[in-house]
Amino acid sequence: MGITIKETQKRLRDKETTPEEVVANFLSLIKERNEEMNVFLDVFQDTVQEMKKKDSSLPLYGAVFGIKDNILIKGKRCTAGSKILENYNASFDATVIEKIKEKGGVFIGKTNMDEFAMGSSTENSAFGPTRNPYDLERVPGGSSGGSAVAVSVGMCNIALGSDTGGSIRQPAAFCGVVGFKPTYGAISRSGVISMASSFDQVGVLANIVEDAKLVFDSIRGKDERDSVTVDFNGGSVETKKKDKIVVGVPKEYFIEGISSEVKESIEEALSRIKGEEIELVDISLPHTEYALPVYEIIMASEISSNLARYDGIRYGKEDTESVMKSIEDLYMKNRGKGLGKEAKRRVVLGTYTLSSGYYDAYYIKAQKVRALIIDDFRKAFQRVDAIITPTTPTLPFKIGEKIEDPLTMHLSDIFTVTASISGLPAISIPYVKKNGLPVGVQLIGDRFKEELLFNIAEKFEKIWQT
């Protein structure tokens, strides 16, 4: 259903279409289906004019982007799915936006998301849930749910998302598109609203691996406005063995609790790639079972610190009814009304895990186990070129099914969270549809080996498509 960048670019170059027609087609689909699926929070009217200003030889010429609403575009509203930012207009471009503009891309609108990217279903948005295009009663995954649906149904060519514990890969799997998260430090986060800064990364939701790679190559690189970024050229494409790709299959990811549909699909996917060129080896990542508890603690701690800046004074929800007794009272009331349930719950949890009496027992303990999880991967990548896993343990679930139970909800991130903890690049590739619903397969690469990861992903994508 989606339309690739490659396709649009070719048609523009061959004069089979015009910028007006390209944009009008996307806009008419948005008009037709946005109300029912709640994909875009804002739709822009200046997309055609912007495209006509661009030089047609630029690498992203013709590409129409949806942008997750936690990424700043100058002069456009940016809510992060929260009431506390509902009237905030961005005063500068995020570095990734600047780069897309320079390389010829244009934007069609801002996509819905869980508030401040906290969630796995896009049900936590202050502006209502987004729906899965394959079954409107089900969630699209999250937190980049709007971006995943927009690409899946063809409301834009491609979309940016952000991934903290799986927020690009998990919705990509649920909506049948490609979802890519880079190595920590590969893409600048300047102008991206922070959730948990030791995990947060910007990434891409695309129809095909090739499009994801094209955008990654256009937006990566060092940025003095994000001190963790590094300069690199995409990394070496050399494999461990000559003329062979060695892919690790971690036994800890084939656990009880994985649904039969996902299990069958992944086994079938594995049997189809196995061959002369691709060697599958069993590996072990022994600390996998501790990944979610580690993530839970560190993520909440970082959130409680990052969200401190929203006071409701300069923009956003302000409590105009109550009488304020003190400055603390003003902060508490503004934030109490402006932040959603899930955000407040995580601020309270993070305040607890960072408090002086519990800091060592929770935060430091979690950072120690995190070091062990990182070491598991370091050892594995001495033997293998990539690691293959299911992206999610189940098919997309029903709206409302998990919203009241944060622990069950977080289980849907169980296979994606390890790459976030370890800062590794990872990509979810759509495999098949079971009972009409998509299944995703995840490939995890070694640090700063994106080029190799994309090569392998394209190879597998080709095998699975035929």
Binding site: N87, Y88, N89, S91, F92, Y184, G185, E224, S227, V228, V230, E289, Y290, P293, V294, E296, I297, D311, I313, R314, Y315, E318, T320, V323, M324, K325, I327, E328, D329, L330, Y331, M332, K333, R335, G336, K337, K344, R345, V347, V348, L349, G350, T351, Y352, S355, Y362, I364, K365, A366, Q367, K368, V369, R370, A371, L372, I374, P406, L407, G423, R447
Partner: protein, 95 residues
């Protein structure tokens, strides 16, 4: 067991006012999560250094120059909901 009183105190430290309904539900949810993360105590971390950074990141310094031409203060103040004479207007506080 985390008490309602403790949650109230944490909410004050985190500067978020909880509704009555949240004051009932948050202690239970917190309790469940803290019980769940107890799993980490199984792991022997006696000889493990905690993780802090992925790479040797260092501070990025720049000259302390104002950036007036790029984003003037007036521009910024204009974005604020209520402003007057280049100042932002806030609710009066009586304490």
């Amino acid at each position: 067991m985390i008490s309602k009183k403790e949650v109230k105190k944490l909410a004050f430290l985190g500067r978020v006012e909880l509704t009555d309904e949240e004051l009932e539900s948050v202690p239970k949810k917190l309790e469940a999560i803290l019980k769940y993360v107890q799993k980490l105590s199984e792991v022997d971390t006696e000889k493990t250094e905690p993780f802090f950074h992925f790479s040797e990141t260092s501070n990025v310094f720049r000259e302390d120059l104002s950036n007036k031409e790029k984003n003037g203060m007036k521009e910024e103040v204009k974005k604020i909901k209520e402003h007057k004479n280049n100042y932002l207007k806030v609710k009066s506080i009586w304490g």
